[in-house]
């Protein structure tokens, strides 16, 4: 077995250090070594987007990176969204309000993808079209919802008025 390597990184503002084999994937390191199980592992081959995290501010698929590649990096996972008192992040609140999830398995990946997207459109002071939103979400798969309410949630998170779904 290959010699273990030390990985030091900041996750959601907190410093972590762990040792692992070089072949350990970042998604497994986050879940197993750091105990942050909010990041989900779906397809395990870079298709479904459930394992999406922010690495130094940019979304990446943690199932296609080795943990050691994140050494020295700053990571944000879904656990970093809500306030310490449990108040939902506006993006999480939007998914709640618009029923942008059903089983919830894909949701952590969607939330991180949308987090980067909302930051980018807000930085440009831009109101994205539905097409741009759908393009931004491409690469995150949801097998429950049909995406309609997810798109509405993103619109709400972007400050675009949207009708509420029927109850």
């Amino acid at each position: 077995m290959a010699e273990k390597v030390t990985v030091r990184l900041k996750v959601n503002g907190r410093d972590y250090e762990g040792t692992c084999e070089p072949r350990k994937l970042l998604s497994d390191f986050i879940r197993q070594d750091l105990g942050l199980t909010g990041t989900h592992v779906g397809c395990e081959h870079g298709v479904c987007g459930a394992c999406t995290i922010l690495l130094d501010g940019r979304t990446v698929r943690s199932c296609l990176l080795f943990a050691v590649q994140a050494d020295g990096a700053e990571i944000m996972t879904v656990e970093g969204l809500a306030a310490p008192d449990g108040t939902l992040h506006p993006i999480q609140q939007a998914f709640w309000d618009k029923h942008g999830l059903q089983c919830g398995f894909c949701t952590p990946g969607f939330l991180m993808t949308v987090y980067e997207f909302v930051n980018q459109v807000q930085a440009r002071n831009h109101q994205p079209s539905e097409e741009e939103i759908r393009e931004a979400l491409s690469g995150n798969l949801c097998r429950c919802t049909g995406y309609v309410n997810i798109v509405k949630a993103v619109q709400q998170a972007c400050g675009i008025p949207v009708e509420s779904p029927a109850h």
């Binding site: 077995m1 870079g46 491409s138 690469g139």
Partner: protein
């Protein structure tokens, strides 16, 4: 992922020497979007990986002496967003923005894209049309190759096992034009046919030069100098675009895959070469998924 050693070199010489020690068995890893997939699917089982992202300075993007120089470790997102690339070679920035999805582009690198030599990809054909070259570092020194000569066939490059691509160089000013990414299914990220058409206009409204590269249909992007020469001094009209399109359709040796049969691809090559030339001649600049 099978057990493996991970080397973390801090210089190109160290990286090449490490690769040389494994005599072709080890693999270099940049963004990992292709390589980690192959490891996970058991298509590759190298005893060791050599990280390239631990070597400083390989991701710079700059204009130097009439050349756009793109570090091999620049991510596709960085190329797509670079104000310099967008200003000087907009077709390249726009084409990189069409690859995969945002999470792929944030990790995948331009050098990795070329060295993987995946035929169903967008940047190689665009770079071939731009007459781009790569700078290659190895134990025997530094050499340069046209991208057209780097990519040899399906997943095959002209690199020796201990050589690394360090930079992609695009001569400036580049001719202007478009990249059309023809995708046969809405859920598909990869092109069935990818056509780059670039032109320079002569003063009298005729074409001084046209370049066409057809990607994603065969082991390597195709350019036909004889067909491109038809445009020299010619009026940019439909008859010309059609003739060049038909020349490419006749010359391609298309692959059949889930995105289209060989026969279908041949027809689509004629269509999209014609449309790309029409758009380039009309002054359009950019890349579109069609």
């Amino acid at each position: 992922v099978p057990d493996l050693l991970l080397h973390q070199p801090h210089s190109l010489d160290e990286a090449c020497a490490t690769l040389a020690r494994y005599d072709g068995e080890a693999r270099a890893i940049a963004g990992g979007t292709a390589l980690v997939l192959m490891l996970r699917q058991g298509l590759l089982a190298p005893p060791a990986l050599v990280r390239l992202d631990t070597i400083p300075g390989l991701d710079a993007i700059a204009e130097v002496d009439g050349m756009l120089r793109l570090g091999a470790l620049a991510t596709l997102s960085a190329v797509a967003a670079s104000p310099l690339v967008r200003a000087r070679v907009p077709v390249l920035a726009a084409a990189c923005a069409l690859v995969g999805n945002v999470r792929v582009r944030n990790a995948a690198t331009l050098g990795g894209n070329l060295c993987e030599a995946d035929y169903a990809s967008d940047p190689p054909g665009v770079l071939v049309a731009l007459d781009a070259r790569v700078s290659i570092h190895g134990p025997r020194g530094v050499r340069e190759l046209p991208v057209a000569a780097l990519v040899r066939d399906f997943y095959e490059t002209a690199l020796a096992p201990d050589e690394l691509v360090t930079e992609v160089r695009v001569p400036l000013p580049a001719p202007t034009g478009v990249y059309l990414k023809y995708v046969t299914r809405s859920a598909e990220d990869r092109p069935c046919v990818g056509v780059t058409a670039l032109v320079r206009r002569a003063a009298e409204g005729q074409l001084a030069e046209a370049r066409v590269a057809v990607g994603a249909v065969a082991g390597r992007p195709l350019r036909l100098p004889a067909a491109e020469a038809l445009a020299r001094g010619a009026a940019p009209d439909e008859a010309l675009f059609r003739a060049i399109g038909e020349a490419y359709a006749a010359a391609v040796e298309p692959v059949s895959d889930a995105r289209g049969s060989a026969a279908y691809r041949r027809q689509m090559v004629a269509v999209f070469v014609r449309r790309a030339l029409r758009a380039a001649a009309a002054g359009h600049q950019g890349a579109w998924r069609v």
